[in-house]
């Protein structure tokens, strides 16, 4: 009975894995196809069912009918990485303040300030497109990496604040008080005592920032012209009147890869117990 149950469990997991992996496998096989192989019905195995071609992959590096995505790729890494780090640092500091100190401005309290941050994510991004455009033009930062980083920090910080406030609230205040009694300054209390306890929160908030930043198309599209292109925009630029499924598949794979690797590493980190028990 026990073996049967185990077999059932493995079967379910296997089926689910297949279901999840399927689109990726199809993407992978499509990226090696040519026009004929794509339009000639569903096929899977290279050489046996279709003649593999590297045209799709070549088009990502300036091949026929493609564009070079190396520079947009690097741009995306710089913008997402920098903006996420800044947003995480600022957001964590803001969240600690909101969790530990009392702010009052007229009828406004801590909870209202926290909600203000969250409300930035509730707002549809299109509302922000024109103000951001005008502001960046005024700063002379349109179509530039610093301009995009600035906008992305504004877009990602609410996520960091939101996640981190909750994590800080789970840390008892007595821990802060004890650190003061032990002779810590407020800064060392934050850095040496509180921060190590919210490491899981930092990982979660960092993940969210990277995912949202990496996947954003809207701001990358509206605030740039020709000089500074980010990956999502350049992938769209690959498209043409005859949809090049092979190029798009290859592009999709390279754009998903860093997030997949990141998820894999973080999952390992969490599973290893690196964070287990850090918060009771």
């Amino acid at each position: 009975m026990k073996t049967f149950y185990l077999a059932l469990k493995y079967l379910a997991v296997t089926l689910w894995s297949a279901f999840v992996i399927f689109p990726f496998l199809w993407m992978l096989s499509t990226s090696f196809k040519s026009q004929n192989a794509v339009t000639g019905g569903a096929t899977w195995i290279p050489w046996a069912q279709f003649e593999p071609s590297l045209a799709g992959w070549k088009s990502l590096f300036g091949g026929v009918g493609g564009i070079n995505i190396v520079k947009p790729y690097i741009n995306s890494v710089i913008v997402t990485g920098t903006a996420s780090v800044i947003a995480l640092v600022l957001g964590t500091l803001a969240a600690y303040g909101l969790s530990r100190f009392t702010f009052r401005a007229g009828p406004i309290r801590n909870a209202d300030i926290t909600f203000f941050f969250i409300s930035q994510r509730i707002m549809p991004p299109i509302v922000l497109a024109i103000p951001f455009f005008l502001m960046l033009r005024w700063l002379g930062l349109l179509d530039s990496l610093p301009g995009l980083i600035l906008v992305y920090v504004a877009a990602l910080m609410p996520i960091a604040v939101w996640v981190m406030v909750d994590f800080f609230n789970t840390i008892p205040r007595a821990l802060d008080e004890m650190a003061w009694l032990d002779g810590c300054t407020p800064v060392t209390t934050f850095l040496r005592v509180i921060l190590p306890n919210v490491a899981p929160g930092l990982v979660v908030a960092g993940m969210f920032c990277l995912i949202f930043g990496w996947n954003d198309f809207f701001f990358a599209f509206t605030l740039t012209f020709t000089q500074t292109q980010l990956l999502p925009v350049s992938i769209v630029a690959l498209n043409s009147s005859v949809t090049p499924w092979w190029s798009l598949s290859a592009a999709a794979i390279v754009s998903v890869a860093p997030l997949a690797v990141l998820a894999f590493v973080v999952e390992r980190f969490l599973a290893r117990g690196g964070l287990a028990g850090a918060v009771r």
């Binding site: 007595a174 821990l175 008080e177 004890m178 003061w180 009694l181 032990d182 810590c184 005592v193 190590p196």
Partner: protein, 359 residues
Amino acid sequence: MAEIRLETLAHRYSPHGAYALKPLDMTWRSGGTYALLGPSGCGKSTMLNIISGLIHPSEGRVLFDGRDVAAFDTGRRKIAQVFQVPVIYRSMTVGQNLGFPLVCQGAPAAHRRKRVETIADRLGLGAVLNRPANALTADQKQLVSLGRGLVREDVAAILLDEPLTVIDPQQKFDLRRILKEINVEFGVTMVLVTHDQTEAMTFAEEVIVMNMGEVVQAGTPRELFEHPATRHVGSFIGAPAMNFLAAVAQDGQAMVPGTGLALPLPADVGSGSGPGPGEALTLGFRPEHLQLAGKDAALSGTVTRIWFEGLDEIIALSHPAGEIRLRAPAGTGLSPGDHAGIVPEPGRLRLYVADRLAG
């Protein structure tokens, strides 16, 4: 180690609200042991937090060795506090926890290591120095908290905020013993906040009884036991509680009718003819200060209940003036329904006028 003096210290949480701590003056000598005893919400934790600097008092001053510490933030007061729920740095090992105050001070690593080892050995934590602090049991965590105070040679005082509440009874006993030993060995001033009278009486050389934000009485355990300043203290200290019987004024005496118990009225009570309104008279006496006597004693009653307490028996007698309890050596042979006489030990009667000790 420092002498701590509180001068007209008082605190209210909102500018025009009620006092959480009513104005008080108090001096705690360096190296002494003190207990703040009172029910929850009586202001004892407020007092501790004022001393450690977590709360700024709305009135009065706190002086360490004669120096006003108002301008000193918490870290510079060199106070160690052990909280009710064990608080430890969960991200650090036991050793790192113990050494943390020295890290904050910027002490050299070699000195730190030596101090940590000394303290850990003294507290019996030597074997777990490299374990994550989170893995310890509750009583070990409290020891770590205590150790963080002791690791600083210049610690002014250790404040213990109900540190034994979440500890198992057997470990409670051990921890209390360690606290006492540490006090003697290190000569560090210790202030224990508790609502457990046994804990307070066995730990402290001076017990401060508080109620409703007010210091009701401060004195040695013996003083509190023998001369409770109010009926509240008499009921709160000692088990079973002090006996109180309503008295009337007659011929310059306060007496309980039908008992033969009487004390002379102090001169300042009433206007010669008797106590004024709001000056209710009560005679109080400890169950420990009563002795069994023959049935024809001036004070006698019917046994209603008997509690067996090992060496002793607590016997409750019903009397028209009220219930009286006495503690007698076990083996009295009495059983409920029996009639028994009792005699109070001479000089043990106390007179309370309007619930306060008279004379």
